[in-house]
Amino acid sequence: MNQPNSPSPLPPSGPRMFQKPGASFPERSTRLSSRSRQTLALMSMTLPGVLLLLIFSYLPLSGLIIAFKNYRAADGIFGSAWAGLKNFEFLFASGAAWRITLNTLWLNGLFIITTLVISLTLALLINEVRSRSRALSGFYQTALFFPFFLSYVIISYFTYALLSTDQGLLNSVFKSLGLEPVRWYSEPSRWPLILVLVNLWKNVGFSVVIYLSGMLAIDPEYYEAAALDGASKWQQVRFITLPMLSPLITITVLLAIGRIFFADFGLFYFVTRDTSLLYPTTDVIDTYVFRALRQLGDFGMAGAAGLYQSVIGFALVMFSNWIVKRRDPDRALF
């Protein structure tokens, strides 16, 4: 396991044990040396990438033990005293673990469902008019796709312009309708809906593009045959488009479910403006870990929450990949 990992130059003969059985060539010295030169060249190509991964992805794995330590900066990760399961006890006893788990799962679940339904609907509508109105369809796609390219920092300016208590547009509209203005940034009960809408606004365009490209790949002869048989538009959607698209939809949704334990930090941190009044409905694992680390400086508990997320997240990815693999092995991640 370790030897092929290390990118050290191999002896010209090359160890035969890593070669696949069928791939061996007749033992001719010129052939061999050119093959090992090739292996060497390919190894050297992977070197920068593998090194970066070892440093920035694999080295931190050793730091996972911090979840079981009473971390003190002066002692470092390995010098700090062991704390057993104290960090976890604290995390779960405070009720925080329950809250952030529930928020993460329930909000991400809402995001997956709403994004699927809305983007599929919009893609079907655009697909319907696309062949007759190219320019307008292009405009729709651009308008829908545009927010995907903005960062949540910029988006938080937009939401602030809408939601600010004294100057926000929504409250102006409420006032002109004779309704009570709402203090949006201090009412947690409103936020699941707000977050769903902001998430839709930013991400739906991306899914629309994916689904539209899937629809473009459907052979138009199916529709022509169906139309000849007198099928209505709705029947064509129901019995041609959706079935043809179902592998793409399944994979997209399953991959999203695999990531359901990981929240979009920018959405939950910037759009809520990190308002503590809103934590009951908007605090997710990622924001909790960030705050524990950067604001409280509680490395042990942040580490415990992070390890909890990594482990459950890993299980969910494996699970959804297992389902993907059963349905469509080509689309499985591994």
Partner: protein, 301 residues
């Protein structure tokens, strides 16, 4: 392609079916809703401070004024510096990242590469399991000394396994005869990569390059974690701090503004517009590459 053929077959002069008008009306409405927040912020940035404070945000400036922009442009150094940091990080980062990932993806796409299985595992395992934020943070600040260094904004995003996967899939679909022919002519792997594979792969490289550029340009997270020196703040981090704390905005020497109250609300919005503008323009120019790249990816699987 079948789409143009289909269009030819249809008679263009027949009137649109009535249902199309309803669909267009709905889609137009949705599109305008999507553009609405952007217009709101632009309008606010062009309003006078007093009208914004009194009457709030509106779609059309109630009292047109460019005072916010004038205020910002009197001393644009803070904004320009943040632009320079973001630009530097995004260009250096995405160019380096593209090279590193393409090399990695190419090696992984060659079936005769002896260590393909092992290296693939090393790359893709990181998609599944990671050490989490805390360990990376301690490693980068304490052991690698990346605090307050621009390298902290670049290095962690250089290898994105998902993009390596995309590039690998694309390279693997190139006709192997061309590579074989070059090999028989005596070209080494590096030569083949640079003079044959890369020129044939511009669509994939463009898509991944753009995604990487976007990742760097829009990133706030690494800055939030590793930077404490405001002089090194990239654009997104500067904007975040200004929204939360207007004091963060460069103060002009008091003699200049003694009589003027700084138009803080509108200045915030003008700042957002100035930060979004170029990126939005680039998006309009480049979006078709995104769409094309995604289309290739999803059709090929």
């Amino acid at each position: 392609m079948t789409a143009p053929a289909l269009e030819l077959r249809r008679n263009r002069s027949t009137p649109l079916p009535p249902i199309h008008y309803a669909i267009h009306a709905l889609l137009l409405l949705v599109s305008l809703l999507f553009l609405f927040p952007l217009l709101l912020v632009i309008s606010a940035s062009l309003s006078s401070e007093s009208s914004l404070l009194e009457r709030g945000y509106s779609l059309i400036p109630q009292a047109f004024s460019t005072e916010a922009y004038q205020y910002l442009l009197r001393d644009p150094s803070q904004l320009l510096r943040a632009y320079a940091v973001s630009g530097l990080v995004a260009t250096v980062g995405s160019a380096t990242s593209l090279l590193v990932m393409a090399l990695l993806g190419y090696a992984l796409s060659r079936p005769e590469f002896k260590f393909r299985g092992v290296v693939s595992f090393v790359v893709f395992f990181t998609l599944l399991f990671n050490g989490g934020l805390v360990a990376s943070y301690i490693l980068n600040t304490r052991y690698l000394g990346l605090s307050d260094s621009l390298l902290a904004l670049i290095l962690p995003y250089l290898v994105v396994p998902f993009y390596v996967l995309l590039l690998r899939t694309f390279f693997a679909a190139l006709p192997s005869e061309i590579i074989e022919a070059a090999r028989i002519d005596g070209a080494g792997e590096w030569r083949i990569f640079f003079s044959i594979v890369l020129p044939l792969s511009t669509p994939a490289l463009a898509t991944v390059g753009l995604f990487s550029l976007l990742l760097y340009w829009n990133d706030y997270f690494l800055g939030l974690l590793y930077l404490s020196d405001p002089a090194k703040y990239p654009l997104q981090l500067l904007l975040f701090n200004i929204l939360n704390n207007i004091e963060f905005l460069n103060k002009l020497p008091t003699s200049q503004v003694a009589t003027v109250v700084p138009p803080t609300q509108t200045v915030r919005m003008a700042m957002a517009v100035l930060a979004t503008g170029p990126a939005a323009f680039a998006f309009l120019m480049l979006q078709r590459y995104f769409v094309r790249g995604l289309t290739v990816g999803s059709v090929k699987g």
